[in-house]
């Protein structure tokens, strides 16, 4: 799984870091940064929850292709 944050949409709610603190963090201004990409299997549910809690819809998740 790959995750990206669109910096032009993120306004620093930090709700991604609350839902998935291992995957998302904060820069000096409180805006989201990706800490873990690709996202390992054990963090993928948290990463999906982070996407579903972002009020700015700034997070994109690219799921691994089904093998």
């Amino acid at each position: 799984m790959r995750v990206t944050v669109d910096g032009s949409k993120c306004h620093g709610h930090q709700m991604c870091a609350i839902a998935a603190p291992a995957v998302f963090g904060s820069d000096d201004y409180g805006n989201a940064v990706v800490l873990m990409d690709p996202v390992p299997a054990e963090q993928q549910a948290a990463a999906r929850r982070a996407e579903a809690n972002c009020p700015e819809r700034a997070i994109t998740i690219e799921e691994d292709p089904q093998s």
């Binding site: 306004h11 620093g12 709610h13 930090q14 709700m15 870091a17 609350i18 839902a19 904060s26 820069d27 000096d28 201004y29 409180g30 929850r49 579903a52 809690n53 972002c54 009020p55 700015e56 819809r57």
Partner: protein
């Protein structure tokens, strides 16, 4: 300004200060949201529009060039406010529009980043414990006035480096601006003058006696593009921190305790599954969002079929957005482990509450400390709880009782 009794038609004549709306706004918000006209209008209190659907409120928040922040209070300023010695002092960045908004906000954001506010956690927990020490033996306390109300004012005063002994005065000034003053223009102007007079003196003191590790000194020394920032800007930031940082967070803490007092199942869930705390706090923020902001329409525009004119006021009811069933499943139900929660309690877009990380820290520490020390509690009389509303909604009197611990142990 009209106050002709309670409205009969909320879509065309809502009243944000109507006692029924203040006590429980959600059914009336729902009535508007599900009507043929989900963007309500009123002539009361200077006149305003009020979108009630999540998508509409978020869209207005994103369109900052049409829905400007040149005034963000839900009732227009009285004339006495626009004149006088502090006429140039606003509350940046909440009252700023682009392009200035960008540096106004960027200057203060690092102060409020999660890693920066973490240093206030221990002090906040000690404060919460001291407050509980003061009433735990009595088996009864006002969760709003004796606890919630006492916390953010002291955290903000610590942050600003201003005297903690003045906490009661700060609280009364802020209520004067955001609560009592909204229906009493004289109180509103007087309270604003007290706040700005106080910060004028604080700025003069820091200029004469600069302090190490002090926010006001740092703000005075801030340069943007090689130029020092204006003192009106620094006064405005201090004004914002005091006015926006106190009864907003206190209201969120109070509403959450009011909820938990009535839900033994939720108290048990938090005890048995402490890992849900982060999600639970977001859910309480969603369900009991305290803050409604305002925007001023820049130019004539049509919004969701409503003809809005330049200068019109639009109420940004984040509480209404957060109860929209189009966005949230079972929106009126508090689901502490809600998985999908794009709530906008702290707003949306470029004006997202700059202090949200501090507010969350205070809410978390205040609720966790209460629940550790007072795991079981209930409302003494649900009908006796009083609420403030309008700009910021939360309980102002909320008496609870709890079993006293015979061992007298403290955490």
């Amino acid at each position: 300004m009209t106050t002709n009794g309670s409205p009969t038609d909320w879509v065309s004549d809502y009243d944000i200060f109507d006692p029924d709306f203040v006590r429980n706004p959600y059914p009336l918000m729902s009535e508007i949201r599900e009507s043929a006209c989900p963007v309500a209008h009123t002539d009361r209190w200077g006149g305003s529009w009020m979108p009630t659907r999540y998508d509409d409120i978020v869209a207005a928040a994103q369109e900052y060039d049409i829905f400007t922040s040149r005034n963000i209070i839900v009732v227009p300023p009285p004339t006495g406010q626009i004149e006088g010695p502090y006429a140039g002092v606003a509350a940046p960045p909440i009252t700023s529009d682009p392009p200035e908004h960008h540096w106004h906000r960027r200057t203060i954001l690092p102060t409020f980043a999660p890693q920066a506010v973490a240093k206030y956690e221990d002090g906040t927990r000690a404060l919460c414990n001291r407050l509980i020490d003061g009433f735990i033996a009595a088996g009864q306390a006002d969760a709003a006035a004796d606890y919630a109300q006492q916390i953010p004012v002291r955290v903000i005063a610590t942050m600003l480096g201003v005297p903690l002994e003045m906490a009661d005065e700060f609280t009364s000034w802020v209520r004067g601006v955001l609560e009592i003053g909204l229906t009493d223009p004289k109180v509103r102007v007087e309270s604003r003058m007290k706040i700005l007079g106080f910060f004028r003196a604080q700025l003069d003191d820091r200029k004469a006696n600069p302090r190490e590790d002090d926010l006001i000194t740092e703000l005075l020394n801030t340069h943007v593009d090689g130029e020092p920032v204006s003192e009106d800007y620094v006064m405005g930031v201090c004004n914002l921190m005091l006015v926006a940082g106190i009864d907003t967070t206190w209201s969120a803490i109070g509403s959450s305790l009011w909820h938990l007092a009535q839900h033994p199942d939720h108290r048990r869930q938090l005890r048995e599954q402490p890992e849900i705390w982060p999600t639970a706090l977001e859910e309480l923020l969603r369900a009991y969002s305290p803050v409604t902001m305002a925007r001023i329409v820049d130019r004539d525009t049509e919004f969701q079929g409503c003809p809005m004119h330049a200068g019109d006021r639009v109420l940004m009811s984040f509480p209404a957005a957060n109860r929209d069933p189009r966005q949230f499943e079972n929106p009126d139900e508090v689901i502490l482990d809600r998985e999908h929660n794009r709530h906008v309690a702290f707003g949306s877009g470029i004006h997202r509450c700059a202090g949200s990380n501090l507010a969350r820290l205070e809410l978390r520490v205040a609720l966790q400390t209460w629940m550790e020390r007072i795991p079981e509690f209930e409302l003494v009389d649900p009908t006796a709880v009083t609420w403030a509303g309008g700009q910021v909604r939360g309980p102002r009197r909320c008496l609870v009782r709890f079993p006293t611990d015979p061992s007298g142990a403290t955490a």
